[in-house]
């Protein structure tokens, strides 16, 4: 590399530009301090590099505008599907069958783009395709999974209700057995993909509010089903969030997921999706970190020195690098448990809680390093920061995961 110098005689390194296959943008450096990628298989590395190149070429050029306008990049859906990202850790039925680390890396790279894009894939794969794969009948799997993998059928997951968030077991949505069909009534809220979806996996109590929770695959064109977009969001703006209203929605009996009943159904889906979140936010951290490092090396203040030479700024980077590395270690170790079949939901609570908190702290610190520039959409940091406020809340809030871990230690539930 030519050791060019700037006008003050200091060495500066210019990134060589190359007519690369994914445009001329040279990807930024990604912190992998402990070289954890040496544990990954060549296929897992190839998955990471492919999704990274896809995000660089297709997501990053358009995402800030979508965020500003509050729209989801619908035209990316076929491309995301063609890449095989939807339900990519499931086996068979047209799914890619990635290892858990491969799946995690794919989520990480998507969220390096935007949490809204990763959420789209998480909901489709982790919250709708996964339960169909795990609890569906053979006919349901054949009917939905191949088309969902191709992005021809989009799904959404209806668990949370306006009045039942952290405590979903209190849900008021009910299903009535009516001979050859079920009739559903209730309201679901904060539903990602709600207005994009062709099918909604609605969790409802069968036989009334004291009944057991079951999963129902509700076609969104069914009579009495309405999805209303939620507006005025300041977070996950490049993502569709909706309210689902079910008023005497009649569906066929074979639309019930036969393999599970009780809260175990939705909770196991959440364990699967939270795992993806814990990996995903590593991508958000890397995006913010890389941007702040680059900025700090070029932003000159006081005595003509870049702010990266200031001790307070260096201390911030040291802390952030440690947080990112910790998050990566957690994620790899929990993925290994998932692959070995020894994963417990509490493991996922710890990594979701820790990694999202770290990501939020890192986004705030990086925003601070960029000063006023940090608040604009010219840089990815504020967008990630605003998104991560949602990520901290959805799929079990930070505090709920705290109490799950508290119960793990003491054996006493603080929820009752």
């Amino acid at each position: 590399m030519p050791a060019a110098t700037d006008e003050d005689g200091k060495r500066v390194f210019e990134k060589p530009q190359l007519p690369g296959p994914f445009g001329d943008k040279v990807p930024p450096t990604m912190p992998d301090f402990l070289d954890l990628s040496r544990h990954f298989t060549p296929e897992e590395r190839a998955v990471r590099d492919t999704v990274r190149a896809f995000v660089d070429a297709r997501v990053l050029p358009v995402i800030a505008d979508h965020f500003e306008k509050g729209t989801f990049p619908n035209d990316l859906i076929p491309e995301i599907a063609k890449l095989g990202l939807l339900g990519c850790n499931l086996q068979g039925y047209g799914c890619a069958g990635l290892s858990e680390i491969g799946y995690g890396l794919a989520m990480q790279e998507l969220e390096r783009g935007d949490s809204g894009i990763r959420s789209f894939a998480s909901v489709q794969g982790g919250l709708v395709m996964y339960p169909i794969h795990a609890f569906g009948s053979e006919a349901q799997k054949e009917k939905y999974l191949p088309k969902m993998a191709k992005g021809e059928i989009i799904g959404c997951f209806g668990l949370t209700e306006p009045d039942w968030g952290s405590n979903p077991s209190g849900m008021r949505t009910v299903a009535r057995d009516d001979g050859d069909s079920f009739v559903l009534n209730g309201t679901k809220r904060w539903i990602t993909n709600g207005n994009l979806a062709h099918v909604a996996l609605v969790w409802a109590k069968l036989g009334g509010v004291d009944g057991q929770v079951h999963g129902f695959l509700v076609p969104t064109d069914a009579k009495g089903f309405e999805a209303r977009p939620i507006h005025k969001k300041m977070s996950l703006r490049a993502s569709v969030t909706s309210e689902l209203i079910l008023e005497d929605v009649r569906i066929k009996k074979d639309q019930l997921l036969p393999g599970v009943k009780g809260m175990k159904g939705p909770l196991s889906c959440l364990t699967s999706a939270r795992f993806g979140i814990a990996w995903g936010v590593i991508g958000a951290m890397q995006a913010c970190f890389d941007c702040a490092v680059d900025y700090a090396k070029h932003r000159v203040q006081f005595a003509g020195k870049p702010i990266a030479s200031h001790q307070l700024v260096q201390a911030k980077f040291a802390e952030m690098l440690t947080q990112i590395t910790t998050a990566q270690l957690y994620a790899v170790e929990v993925a290994r448990h998932k692959e070995a079949g020894t994963l417990r939901p509490q493991h996922v609570s710890m990594i979701k809680r820790n990694n999202v908190r770290s990501a939020l702290e890192i986004a705030r610190t990086c925003r601070d390093i960029l000063g006023g520039n940090g608040i604009t959409l010219e840089y990815p940091i504020m967008r990630h920061l605003m998104n991560l406020e949602t990520v901290s809340t959805y799929e079990g809030t930070h505090d709920v995961h705290t109490l799950i871990l508290g119960q793990e230690v003491t054996g006493i539930s603080a929820f009752e």
Binding site: M1, P2, A3, A4, T5, E7, D8, G9, R11, F13, K15, P16, L18, P19, G20, P21, F22, G23, V26, P27, T29, P42, E43, R45, A46, V47, T50, V51, A53, F54, A57, K82, L83, G84, L85, C88, C95, A96, G97, L98, G102, A106
Partner: protein, 274 residues
């Protein structure tokens, strides 16, 4: 059509500032590797020539990728297999044991063994920038050659109409197969490649294709064979030896000029442009 595509990994240009220059040798420890971009364009071109773009999964020809390097370079081959190449060959050697001429002679032997209708190459490697192999190979094979192809139209898979990029325009020439063609950046434009297999209404996206995640997993099962360099070329003596590498000299610091008069003075006496 059977197509042979030679591929090489090159050091990731983003990590170029890690290169340490030793005596007559570039230190490669710790470098990250990427496929040479022009070689990726050659793979993309080969795939487009051997498929119906509207149903890319049904292969209508065979693309063999070959690389010259140690075991680790199989990663580059697997990546090409994941994007759609049909089989791969690794010729076991190291970068400092080959030069452009030896590579061309070994490729000639491989062509005689594999019998492709077309050898497609990147116009040059972005590390050595030698730009020799396609030309030498065509000469050794006695085949027609077209270099720096920016556009290729396959004429019933019997001949290729190649548009070559030159200063200020392009030259069109027709080569009958078998032939050697090297490709330039523009070949991966949406309209870079036309063949009878893909309807003209089909739109490719610009650039090379992304490997689907499922194809990455499936690439493990595709054929990847290893060949010894001496099996292809018993004479492995090099005609070119690298004798040294130097970094460009550090630029001197500039000076600040206070007045226009001083500027004019310097332009006259120092820069000597006035």
């Amino acid at each position: 059509m059977k197509i042979l595509v030679p591929l090489k990994r090159v050091s990731d240009p983003d990590n170029a500032n890690k290169i340490k220059v030793g005596a007559g040798k570039v230190e490669t420890t710790g470098l990250e590797w990427k496929p040479n971009p022009f070689d990726e364009y050659a793979v993309e071109t080969a795939l487009r020539l051997t498929e119906n773009g509207t149903n890319a999964k049904a292969r209508l020809g065979e693309v063999t990728v070959v690389t010259f390097g140690p075991k680790e370079t199989e990663t580059t081959l697997r990546a090409a297999l994941a994007t759609g190449a049909d089989k791969a060959i690794r010729v076991d050697t190291t970068d400092d044991a080959i030069d452009g001429d030896l590579l061309a002679r070994a490729l000639k032997a491989l062509v005689e063994r594999e019998k492709p209708d077309l050898v497609l190459l990147g116009k040059q490697q972005v590390d050595g920038d030698a730009n020799q192999v396609a030309q030498l190979l065509a000469e050794y094979l006695g085949w027609p050659q077209a270099t720096f192809a920016g556009q290729i139209t396959s004429e019933a898979d019997k001949a290729l109409l190649v548009s070559r990029e030159v200063d200020g325009g392009s030259i069109k020439l027709r080569v009958t197969l078998p032939a050697v063609v090297s490709v330039d950046l523009r070949i991966v434009n949406a309209v870079g490649v036309t063949s009878m297999h893909t309807p003209p209404t089909h739109k490719y996206s610009d650039g090379v294709r992304f490997a689907a995640l499922m194809a990455i997993m499936a690439a493990k099962k595709k054929s990847l064979t290893e060949v010894k360099l001496t099996d292809l070329s018993p004479d492995t003596a090099l005609k070119i030896k690298y004798t040294g590498f130097d970094l460009p000299p550090a630029r001197k610091a500039g000076v600040k000029i206070k007045t226009v008069a001083e500027l004019v003075q310097k332009l006259k006496t120092e820069a000597k442009v006035l």
